[in-house]
């Protein structure tokens, strides 16, 4: 074949997966173009969001000396919510407050732009406002991309288009999505001066916390999230699309109702809403990931369904960063070996299998099914918050022993068989 290639590798999407791939390839001296449909990297992107420090550090050593992130996360709170009640577990780990930092909060227009700049500095070319509509096909081999009248030819294409995965389907690697395997996240960003954030939530300078919330969302699997950024707050609610539509409830109404909870009202009190956003999340887990490679093509991140839903948190961005990096490393090897058929591109899957991305998704493969139980999202938050109220309420009467009160309270409200089933399910899945 005497094809003239414009680049060795074309990457679709300048989110964490695509940009990590571009950065890795550019560092390896490969001619790579990163194509982004947004006005800038991050313009179309929404996340909770926290990233693992060590993962960023591998891509950009000493990243914390720069401006890409929001706050170092040292505190993780998990709240169970029910009508007028909340029980919160507060895990405070000050060991996380040193480089490379365990986790950092991010906002995507800032983080994605920062990371893309790193890729650009390393030699990657970035094309903005560029929507990929199809691939360049030669038989069943993908040889680049088409955008309007423009064609970019390349030996390899990496799809990192995010959750909508239109091109992953077009490449024949994913099936049409099913609502049970997806959630919609509704998010509001609030403005609050950094010193107010620090004094209100008891944080030091640049320190932050995350707060996941379960319950009080009409029993729809998913949950709330809250993150402190430098001078903004990220707050949102994730709702499984199948359960939401089956209940005939509007996502916007469930979100507004969720927001009326006193615990949440207190979190966002006096803060000014400055942006509203939404995104879908593939949460089908290990069993519903796309095929990861094909003739001339690799897929990474949300587009491939690399999202872990472990109930108390939904994890996608870290997987995207790591999978993008691995896709970049695999692409370097594939280019060296010169076999761009699926026999050659399989190197990517083999490499990914050794990473935490694949291993974690596999470890938690039963979680998606377990979390399908409505009990997790209504019964248990109600039960635990109700029990705490019963234990703490001052009635003026003598108290019973705590264990006796607890067991009596739970058994009166829960079927013992469901409890055992959930205990086993929980044990097996998480």
């Amino acid at each position: 074949m005497s094809t003239n290639y414009d680049f060795d590798v074309t990457i679709i999407g300048a989110g964490p997966a695509g940009t990590a791939a571009a950065l890795t390839l550019a560092k390896g001296g490969i001619e790579v173009v990163l194509v982004e449909r947004g006005q800038y990297p991050g313009a179309k992107n929404v996340s909770g969001g926290a990233l693992y420090g060590p993962v960023i550090n591998e891509l950009v050593p000493n990243y914390w000396e720069e401006e890409g992130f929001e706050r170092f996360l040292t505190i993780k709170k998990i709240s169970l919510l029910s009508e007028n009640k909340a029980v919160t577990i507060d895990i405070n780990n000050q060991d996380f407050k040193k480089p490379p930092y365990n986790g950092v909060s991010v906002t995507r227009p800032k983080f994605d732009r920062w990371l893309a700049k790193k890729a650009e500095e390393a030699g990657a070319m970035i094309l903005l406002d560029t929507v990929v509509e199809d691939f360049v096909w030669e038989g069943d081999q993908i040889l680049g991309i088409k955008s309007g009248d423009d064609i970019i030819k390349s030996k390899l294409t990496i799809i990192a288009e995010g959750s909508s995965a239109l091109l992953t389907e077009k490449a024949g690697l994913a099936k049409f999505p099913k609502p049970e395997h997806y959630a919609v996240a509704l998010k509001e960003t609030y403005e609050l001066p950094s010193d107010v954030i620090e004094s209100r939530y008891g944080l030091e300078k640049n320190e932050g916390f995350s707060n996941e919330m379960l319950g009080y969302a009409e029993g729809i699997p998913g949950g709330g999230f809250f993150y402190t950024n430098r001078d903004t707050l990220s707050f949102g609610l994730i709702l499984n699309l199948k359960k939401l539509t089956k209940k005939k409830l509007k996502s916007t109404d469930v979100f507004e109702q969720f927001k009326t909870h006193p615990y949440i009202q207190k979190l966002i009190q006096d803060a000014k809403m400055i942006e509203y956003s939404a995104q879908t999340i593939p949460e089908g887990g290990f069993k519903h990931m796309s095929k990861l490679y094909g003739n001339g093509v690799l897929v990474a991140g949300d587009a491939a369904g690399m999202v872990l839903n472990a109930g108390l948190y939904i994890e996608g961005m870290n997987f995207a960063l790591e999978a993008g990096k691995i896709a970049g490393e695999a692409a370097i090897e594939i280019l060296k070996l010169g076999d761009f058929s699926s026999n050659g591109t399989k190197i990517y899957e083999n490499k990914l299998k050794k990473s935490f991305v694949y291993k974690d998704l596999k470890t938690f493969k039963r979680a998606a099914k377990f979390l399908d139980t409505d009990r997790i999202f209504t019964k248990y938050p109600d039960l635990i918050t109700g029990l705490m109220k019963k234990l703490l309420k001052n009635t003026g009467k003598p108290r019973k022993r705590i264990v006796k009160t607890a067991v009596g309270y739970i058994l009166k409200r829960m079927n013992i068989l469901s409890l055992i089933k959930d205990a086993i399910g929980g044990w097996r899945s998480i």
């Binding site: 006005q39 409830l249 509007k250 996502s251 509203y276 879908t280």
Partner: protein
């Protein structure tokens, strides 16, 4: 709720987000022939931007009124529609949502 916690409407919330509408290209189209027979209306429930609304009045062609302009490009409608009525594309370059702080 106290006066400071006034509930914002979706339209008010959407006005905070930068959206550039492409007047020459509807990136999502629905098939009215299919929507006419719909009994589930999953798009109305799922859409976080209220792009899909119930049509009011007796003499309507379709039970759903659709407007692509407020779309946040989340893709929910395409996923939830059990009838395959939603033809979903990415907006053209330079159009659609442009997040600053999300």
């Amino acid at each position: 709720m106290s006066k400071t916690e006034k509930v914002m409407t979706i339209d008010e919330k959407l006005s905070l987000t930068k959206l550039t509408t492409d007047k020459n290209y509807e990136h999502i189209t629905i098939n009215p022939e299919i929507c006419k027979k719909c009994k589930t209306f999953d798009c109305v429930y799922a859409c976080p931007a209220n792009c899909y609304k119930f049509a009011e009045g007796e003499e309507v062609d379709s039970p759903i009124i659709f407007d692509y302009a407020p779309c946040l490009e989340c893709g929910s409608c395409r996923i939830v529609c059990p009838h395959g009525s939603v033809d979903w594309h990415y907006p053209k370059g330079g159009f659609g949502v442009e997040y600053k702080m999300s």
